[in-house]
Amino acid sequence: MSNPLLHHHFVLPGQVLATSHSESDGGFLRGHGTYIELVPDDDDENDNDDDDEDQALGGGRGVAGTSSSFGKLKKKSSSGGGGAEGWGNFDTSNVVMQTAVGDDNHRGGGSAMADTNDDNDNTNNDQQQEAPLLSKGPQRLIASVAGTVERVNKLISVIPLSPSIYNGQVGDLVIGRIVGVGGSRWKVSLTCSSPSSSGSSGSMKEGQLPLSGVNLPGGVQRIRTSEDVLAMRSLYREGDLLTCEVQQVQKDGTLILHTRSLRYGKLENGVLVTVPPHLVGRRKNHFVTLRGLGGKKKRGGNTDISDSMNVDNEGVDEDGDENEDGSNVDVYLGLNGGIWIQRTVPSRWENAIRADQDERAPLAETLQKLRQRHASTRVSTSMREGIARVRNSIDCLRLVHCQISPESIELVARASLDAGVRVADMLLPEWVVKLTEGTRRH
């Protein structure tokens, strides 16, 4: 029942992952979720011994002899992680205590407060991906998040328990919501939180979409003028959802976005689901099409009603043909955890639009018209059911913390179709467990 692998490699913040003794090379590389610090000078030689436990230094007043009991406790707790090269290797000797009594600023009496601003801090250049080999002396690699250790040759990283923070990389597809317009840029909330929620931008930093990062309507290429700045709201206004790509990650972690591709832009007439960002992995293509999930197939029992309702849809709906596209669902997997589901635009729409306009019309114009048509055309009831099924499949995967990929979504959706589950029932706990059964057979 308990996975021994998980137990062995589970670490807490502050736990020492590896120690390097040699002065020349580190012996390890710093991955995510870890940091490096120098082993304090006074216990260079005896990292693994606990013979200098009484090195507890009192800053203001002598406090000694506290560490002997610690040594035992630490030894006990580290016994689970024995293994290669310093796993779970606490050095008990690094007991540095500082108590500055009486010199506190905000309370005249005996209030004592000591920050840990000791000499360890000078090695905290955590932002580099690789560990710059610091001046000299033994270093150690310490976990900074709770999670499982992953190790590729020399690179040691910790996969967090619940990584709620999305760290953008250039080229990532993200789905965001416009929360502000101004200063010739749009502010994009990457939590997709609604703009009404009392100004709270969720728990992530906002992305920035500069005016130069969007395609002007009609696909013309020119320098943006002040008129364009004034007309920004006609492109995207507050509350709009859009797909975009990360163009640049600034040094402080702010994401600069762009939509300068015909695939990116405003999202309309579909469903948004948000999941924890770590459930969406990087993949080759984030625009995926799930075939044959959008209804139109004879299924058991409950779909009869919707099929019959489909008839009186006032002819607005054009999915009803024998066309294969009529039953496909598009899923846009945003790496920030936003997932957009909409119907696949049938290819004959595109053909029809192409037939209308002259030969040399730019592709941008065609796609823009296509987009408009998609936004204004009602989605048929059976397609809506298909979209809802895909949405609930994603929700099922989220509830069991399973990686969300086209394959896993399809697996759950197919399982629900095979079991004849109503869309609304898919999120009942017993069905969630049953439907996601297939994702567990590795």
Partner: protein, 288 residues
């Protein structure tokens, strides 16, 4: 001393405290990570703008901590160019303390302001703030029930909530108090004091004073490296450095015990997530 012996005196003769603990025993502690729905779990609800939360109870003291961020700072002027701003606020519920049921205003109550300030200092010693420049991490602590030691509980809860949010920490910060008083003729050093014991150790008002040889000392440490992050003593030390050292040492041992409980809670949470992935957990629909 009155001639009649009180119950507490008898208990102190056999070194058992008024709530049945031994001197070096901490109160029953339970931790629950992810107590609140969070955006990390994918909720689009406007109420769930938190990225991590933890509910910690130490004895009868119960504290809820919510962490948000790293997110944008509203005002440009508050931005720090090289590291994140840490925003800490501590609040109490009107029903939290048994004595006075007044609704204390968190913006004017001096105790709360001081404790938020201490909490801020403690946490900024541990969080690797330089990883998130120009952003804000906000920590909100709500004291649900106060039976003494709310600062310690708040520190523990904040550490767990930060871990739940996945914010990089230098080390886990664990807090525990220790105290000493002259009861029943013998010096007693006790760990993790409850409200009643704190009142004994600091004099009834809790505002400082007490007799000359009583100490009440909340301590926060990073147990894995043995660093003391906070030790706050408001009692007058009567030139007795040894006593202080003993109390400090007892508190550090207490912190280690607290650490073990917290580590177990985090491991349990990890196992829970793992088992959910394996389909063994009870899937709760309200776990947004």
């Amino acid at each position: 001393m009155a001639s009649s012996t009180r119950r507490t005196d008898i208990l102190s003769l056999i070194h058992i405290r008024s709530d049945g603990r031994r001197p070096h025993e901490i109160r029953h502690m339970s931790c629950h990570l992810g107590a609140l729905p969070s955006t990390a779990c994918g909720s689009a609800l406007p109420t769930s703008a938190c990225s991590g939360s933890a509910l910690v109870s130490m004895g009868l003291t119960q504290v809820l901590c919510v962490v948000r961020g790293p997110c944008d700072i509203g005002r440009r002027s508050d931005e720090l160019p090289d590291r994140a701003t840490l925003d800490v606020s501590m609040r109490t519920t009107p029903f939290s303390s048994p004595g006075d049921r007044r609704n204390v205003n968190p913006s004017t109550d001096r105790r709360l302001i001081e404790q938020s300030h201490l909490l801020q200092k403690v946490l900024s010693a541990s969080i690797l703030l330089h990883l998130y420049p120009k952003s804000k991490i906000s920590v909100t602590v709500m004291v649900l029930a106060d039976d003494g030691g709310r600062l310690e509980a708040a520190i523990n809860a904040a550490t767990l909530a930060l871990m739940d949010a996945g914010i990089p920490l230098k080390d886990m910060v664990c807090a525990c108090s220790a105290g000493r008083w002259n009861a029943g003729g013998s010096d007693d050093i006790v760990v993790d004091l409850n409200r009643r014991e704190i009142q004994t150790a600091t004099g009834m008002g809790g505002g400082g004073g007490g007799t000359s040889d009583t100490i009440y000392l909340p301590v926060a440490t990073m147990p894995q490296r043995g660093t003391i992050v906070l030790s706050q003593c408001e009692s007058r030390l009567s030139g007795d450095a040894d006593a202080f050292a003993q109390v400090l040492e007892a508190a550090m041992v207490g912190c280690q015990m607290v650490m073990d409980v917290m580590a177990a809670a985090v491991r349990e949470r990890g196992m829970g997530l793992w088992k959910a992935k394996e389909g063994k957990a009870n899937v709760m629909l309200n776990d947004w």
